[in-house]
């Protein structure tokens, strides 16, 4: 029985969320949200503030009760609005790192980390051993007796992580854990966090509004907008093939032009005229038809300046409007058929001067057509 059960559990996704809904009054802050997370996966829930991502996390943790839908951990339901089932947070065996870290100021570092073990009535020797191992793992060896009130932001973050990991939880939740830190520290801790997760292999859900953090950390990203999931995919998928204008804008600083499909060139390519009158060829997912209103997404770093003849395919006459040198790259605003376009050129050279004419190439395999108002949740 126990063996069969274990075999079953290893088959089931570590965490399943089915049609989760949470309302405050009549306003739905989370609406019909579903996703699955596999064993060992690091999933980032990304979205602007107020999109319902933190609420979704709290519903998984059991810190709030859903008005609809189910949460399953290791194949077992822990909350089911239809039957009234609700397992209290302390019974869910989930580790969580809070935005404020929630380090208890009246306990020292050791006691903070030891707390989950004391709750579970482990022996003193075991507690000492495990807490010290954990503090070493997060880089706080020798700091056990520091008062929690004297810790820096980065150290609190590490204590919070050690406390969430010390009892071997089945799932680890992060609620914007790096948002209170300065940029440099944030980048370093991001690296450490990814490394730690790789070593421990813990299934994790990480909530953030910072797309750079999401792209770097995630195996998979769930993008949320206004309480709904709008796209799920690996970081490069979201970057290359956004399903909506919202995702394209949120995940990158892409140029986005509204336009109309002139003709299908092939199964995955079509020509488009933008509202400002440019004509260009771009890639699509096969679903567009002639005459459709669409958006064209062009990443600044996919455009080329001055390398081809103006007669080459996908090349156009343009003029440099302004130049912003950024060290490792240069951002240009170019005038293309009477409207601006952002272009990024890599390298520390910045040879093109303001007001000079230039040949602009937008490779058709890099320009992406997305349907207007296509809020389609992709299959997980």
């Amino acid at each position: 029985m126990a063996v069969a059960c274990q075999a079953f559990e290893s088959q089931a996704p570590k965490c399943q969320v089915e049609a989760l809904t949470k309302r405050y009054g009549t306003r739905a802050v989370v609406e019909n949200v579903s996703f699955e997370i596999a064993e060992g996966e690091f999933v980032v829930v990304l979205g602007p503030s107020g999109c319902g991502k933190s609420t979704t996390l709290r519903l998984v943790a059991g810190l709030a009760a859903a008005d609809g839908g189910r949460v399953l951990l290791g194949g077992k339901a822990v909350s089911d609005a239809a039957s009234g089932l609700f397992v209290r947070p302390e019974r869910r065996d989930i580790g969580m790192v809070f935005q404020s870290y929630a380090i208890w100021p009246h306990m020292d570092v050791f006691e903070n980390v030891a707390y989950p073990l004391r709750v579970r009535k482990r022996g003193n020797a075991e507690i000492k051993q495990r807490v010290e191992n954990m503090l070493a793992l997060v880089g706080l060896a020798g700091e056990a007796r520091r008062s929690a009130a004297q810790l820096s932001g980065g150290q609190m973050q590490r204590v919070a992580l050690a406390r969430a990991l010390v009892f071997d939880p089945t799932l680890l939740l992060f609620d914007e854990p790096l948002s209170n830190l300065d940029l440099k520290l944030r980048e370093r801790l991001r690296l450490e966090l990814k490394e730690l997760q790789r070593r421990t292999g813990l299934t994790s859900i990480y909530v953030t509004h910072d797309q750079a953090e999401a792209v770097e950390l995630a195996d998979r990203i769930i993008v949320m907008e206004s309480g709904r999931v709008v796209q799920v995919g690996a970081p490069h998928e979201l970057y290359r093939r956004p399903l909506s204008r919202f995702v394209a804008q949120f995940i990158s600083s892409a140029n986005i032009f509204p336009g109309r499909v002139l003709a299908r060139i092939s199964d995955d390519c079509a020509s488009v005229r933008t509202e400002t009158g440019r004509e260009l060829a771009a890639t699509h997912d096969g679903s567009v038809a002639t005459g459709d209103l669409v958006d064209v997404v062009i990443h600044p770093e996919d455009c080329l300046l001055g390398e081809r003849a103006p007669e080459a395919p996908d090349s156009h006459h343009a003029r440099i409007v302004s130049r912003r040198y950024q060290g490792t790259s240069t951002r240009y605003t170019v005038d293309w058929a009477g409207a601006p376009l952002e272009v990024a050129a890599l390298g520390s050279e910045a040879p093109l001067a303001q007001d000079s004419p230039v040949v602009l190439t937008v490779p058709r395999e890099r320009a992406r057509i997305i349907g207007r108002s296509a809020i389609a949740a992709s299959a997980p």
């Binding site: 009760a65 009234g84 397992v87 209290r88 065996d93 929630a102 208890w104 939740l173």
Partner: protein, 584 residues
Amino acid sequence: MTALVASPGARSRGAWLVAALSPRGLFMAVLFAGLFFLIVLPVLALVLGSFLPVPPRALAIDWSGLTLANYRETLSGGGFLALLRVTLAAAMIGTAGALAIGASLAWLAIRTNVPGRHLLESIAILPMFVPPLVGAFAWDILASPRSGIINIALRSIGIEKAVNIYSLGGIGFVFAIYYAPYVHLFVAAALRNFDPTHEEAARMCGASSWRCFWQITLPLISPALLSSGLLVFVLLIELFAIPAILGEPGNLHFISVRIWEMVGFTPPKVNQASALGVLMLVITVTLVLLQYRVLGKRSFVTVSGKGLRPDVVALGGARWPLAFVGFGYILFVVLLPYAALLFIALRKNLFYATLGALADTRQLSLDQFALAFSDPVVRASFLNSLAVSLGTVAIGSVLYFTIAYVVQRTSLAGRRALDVITILPVAIPGLIIGLGYLWTWISLPFGIYGTLWIIILAYLSQFSPQGVRAISGSLVQIDPELEESSRLCGAGLAYTLRRIVVPLAWPGILSAMILLLILSFRELATALFLYTSTTQVFSLTMFDFWLRGSTNLVAVMALVQTLVLAILVLLARRIRRERTPFIT
């Protein structure tokens, strides 16, 4: 290992019943029942009694006897209007004075460069710690028209009958000085949180500092002035001790004192007193509702979050004179009364008519102290007060913490109503609570009437707003994530309360306990109708002895009471300093 909760989406009548019978439902039901007995039932009993023709008799209420006669009698003949006029007039004078004194001191201490302003800021609230009863005794000794020490001193330089504390102005003055600290606290908080850029912007627009004060500063602190003014006004209308001591000799009759006379003097007119009490309740409830409206509507948030301390106004040549006035005032209203009490406590013979007689050192002795300490009534009532105070603190801290936690930290159905019920006593004068308890428990067959328990219960009801608010205040400061993280670490509610919430809220809980101790040790009006010869509390004994003319003993007792309270206050300050470093 799962708990069932009713989903809010599908709440039929059956689901409601399930919710009510769940452990949470039962817990809330018990809490509501407790508060109903503590706070609501006495008020209902009082209202009912005001419509009955006869005093209450054990549960046997003759419903057919409901009558308006008590109100008719109270309102007819102009007696009520006279009471109302005196009560409101004195409260208005007191409020106006308290506003002027409290706001000026707050401005002086916070917005000017007066020497020693930090010290001034902390001692400006000292008069609040003088119990009103003690203050009334002291000013009677100092400023009664014939034998007041000030009048004797002035008479010796040829000024006759200079001050009369037994007048509307005199009583208003005593009101003002002991209630000014409430205004000070409100206004000081507003001035401290004041974003100085509001004023700077006005100055940059070309406004003079005088214009800036009238058009920018004053309007911005006006909510603080208005709401503290209304609070003081209500407290002064409710007040019993000062009118009872200083009003009667000058033939000034106040509503609260009249209620006490109607119940206490023979023949007792409990029903008419109740009618008068209900009328008083209508006034105080109206004013409290008005205050909430004012607070709700006009909260100008000027806190900028930058932690900027507003610029101070350079007073120039007026610095030292104003410092002299500020500090002199505090000494005048705190030290002078206690000096007078100490003088009386040490003096054998209370007949003095000239400065020479006053200065006669042969009259000084410690005999009255020995006499007071050996008096069995004094000793018994001191112990009674101690027992009542400790009982109130023990039960109150647990009860108030439970309520504060349910209101602040849970989503239990009915928690808003719980909050409202615990705030109700703000609008109920202590005297009225006492009268309500008299009605309730004299007619109920449980034997708590005549024990200390009934006084403890009345105090628990009277002080619930202060107690719950003090503990709520410290709970609000605790980030909910500190609790949530404990839950996710596997700890249940009880474990989280014990290891996380109570330790973090402890400074607040402790100050709430000391506040309760102070309030219940000095309370007079609430116990006025609830004591018997064996359950007399300390304040009652003082009041009783004063009425019988044992001025010496009263002076000694007032000093003892103040000493006990001062020790408690110092203890509270010390604990707050020691235990708060990690609360931000």
